[in-house]
């Protein structure tokens, strides 16, 4: 079967890959580009573990055909940190105990990043809405929502919110 060449920007790096027609973006990111941060939990668009940003907009990479990102920008959790310096969201997830098994965390972080990138001061309801497509089975959503609000405060230059203060 003929493969399709696809070039796109992956976390500030140019990626050029040959993909099988019909291949999902999550599969190509993981096995083709070697970015293992998007996780596949359901392959049917229900769990959100594979969430990535395409041109800044969150997408479920398990339901996205790899060929459709030609010429576009794809951001994953693998590009969140700046070298050893963690993104405020990552820091807030650590400080706020917002991950247990970690399998949903990459997707959660990307859904949260998409929110904070265009809304620096979200309400709690807006945070809940932003991660409503991301399922978590261990941590519980409250610490995750708190962590996102705390990261938003930090990114606005305010002190990190105390756990339980929200």
């Amino acid at each position: 079967m003929a493969k399709t060449p696809v070039t796109f920007t992956l976390n500030d790096t140019e990626a050029a890959l040959f993909v099988d027609p019909g291949a999902s973006l999550v599969d190509v990111l993981r096995r083709g580009a070697g970015d293992l941060t998007p996780k596949q939990g359901c392959a049917q668009g229900t769990c959100g573990a594979c969430t990535v940003l395409i041109d800044g907009v969150p997408h479920l990479s398990c339901l996205t055909l790899a060929e459709t990102v030609q010429g576009r920008r794809v951001d994953t959790a693998g590009g969140l940190a700046d070298g050893p310096a963690l993104h405020p969201l990552q820091r807030a997830f650590i400080d706020g105990f917002a991950a247990q098994c970690g399998f949903c965390t990459s997707g959660m972080l990307m859904a949260a990043k998409a929110l904070l990138d265009h809304n620096a001061n979200p309400t709690r309801d807006e945070v809940i809405e932003a991660i409503s497509g991301n399922l978590c089975r261990c941590t519980g959503y409250e610490p995750i929502v708190d962590a996102i609000l705390s990261a938003a405060a930090q990114m606005r230059g305010q002190p990190a919110l105390q756990q339980g203060a929200l």
Binding site: K39, C42, Q90, F93, F97, F103
Partner: protein, 598 residues
Amino acid sequence: MSSIEFRKDLFADERDDNLKEIGKPTIRQDILGHVTGRTPYYDDHLFDGLLHMRAVRSPHHHAEIRSIDTAAAETMPGVRRVLTAKDVPHNLNTLLSLINFGRDDEPLCADDKVRYLGETVAWVIADTERQARDAVAKVRVDYSVLPHVLDVEEAIAPGAPVINDIYPNNTFDYHQKYDHQKLRFGDVNAGFAKADHIIEAEYQMSPIEQAPIETCGAIAAPETNDRFVCHTNTQALFFSLGTTAKLLGIASSRLHFIGGTAGGGFGGKVDSIVEPTAVLGAMVTGKPVKFAWDRYEEMQVGAPRGGERWRIKDGVMADGRIVAREFTGFFDSGAYMRLSPYAIIKATGHLPGPYAIPNVASNVYCCITNRTPATAMRGFGITAVDFSIECHMDRVAEAVGMNPVELRILNAYRDGDMKAHRRKAKNTALIECCQVAAGKASWPISADAAAQSSRVGGGTPERVAIPETSVDEDGRIGERRQGRVADTSPSKTPTGRVAAGTHREAVAGAPVQNPDMQIDADRIGHKMGATTSAAAPVAPQAAPPAAGPSAQPAPPQPVAPAEPTPPASPAPYAPAEKFSRGVRRPGSSPFTSGFRRR
């Protein structure tokens, strides 16, 4: 020769050996990997030339496999191998055989018949997952559909289909004597006889799927030293290794299992299925093979917490003291035993809950049905019966007109009390928990209840005594079924079943008990007498006692109505169902037969 001097002073500031960590927030050591996405789950180990393995699954709950035609699948693009039961070297296992518990009852791949919907009947190994899926659709299996049973009590009713010849009665055999796990402490019937109130109810818990975000999966590959590496998300790494060695007939030293990271488990990743399957794939192809469940498989064939049905009968004095408590439990093990028999042992050790009750009896049945096999999930064996017990405590409080928290404090076990499983209660704290919970909920309790302590009042001679236990001539505790002797060898013919509580009188067409949890007020709730039992689907008249009236468990007792609109005059209590199904002798209680052991 001088001794080596270790320069511990170089590292002296690395730890202070102060291990007092309780109450202090501590950052998880693995969370940096989680937030950077670098935590390596099993599927994050990349292998060149990875092959994909998919299962062909039964569309029937129960069916004989007449034949399997793999010819069309084998010629599909990308297909490397199609495997069936004959390709599994030792195709029979039970998980707990590694600790010498239970009989091997489950094949990795069904051979003669399928016993639940979704059971594996073949596998396809192909270059891509899509090719494997396409080929799975081409495997032709000729089934002869058999009658199935999805309800625990129907499974042990007379004439129920035998699901597995290895357990021909559709129940687990306990202690090579019983078709149920048994607990006897004191004499519940004497307790019921003197009780002012009898409160009975039934509780039904549904199966619950653990639903981890990461489905069960494993990747196996040949190593360069004649071993197989297996990356897995199992919660039971060495169980999986041992099970794989047994099923595949290879030395465990040839297996190199790597795990430790699971994307959620909750008990759903202990059944050691994906690991032997993936290693089998690697053995027959000589290539790295991934075998993972998709979301549908996780939900359909991933073993859930099994459904449980509990009946509780309490004898209660007017002042709220519970003097007798009797359980009948039915665990839905699904088509194979796996961990359910063990869960029942746990459950029985837990009875009668955290209360000091002088007379306790329990029969718990581990029932085979044509449902997905059940397995571990967070406190399995305890959670359902605890839920039932605490619901029942509220019913008891209602029946005797008592504050439910004070009822719990009154009956709570205290330090030194003898529990029904013959262990002294230690470090008890139910009273204190009740007091704190009442305070936090602003729930008023009496000054007397607030002054109680778990450390005071327990362990008195009366509360520490172990009552004598009646056994029969064969050393069997309590009742036994007529004509049935201790026999652990699998019988080839169904012995037939009598539904619990019927005193050997088969109830024809016993109704299915609300599998979707729609509460039927007549069926689940207080059994207060004629006003409520008249409409009950199980009419007590259908099951007359086998013995004379002298063997009635308890004389009729008036019971105070507790419903908002009670009948004008309380009807006398009439037991809706008898508990025992054992042999009853005139004049004896249903729980005792034979001589008494001193």
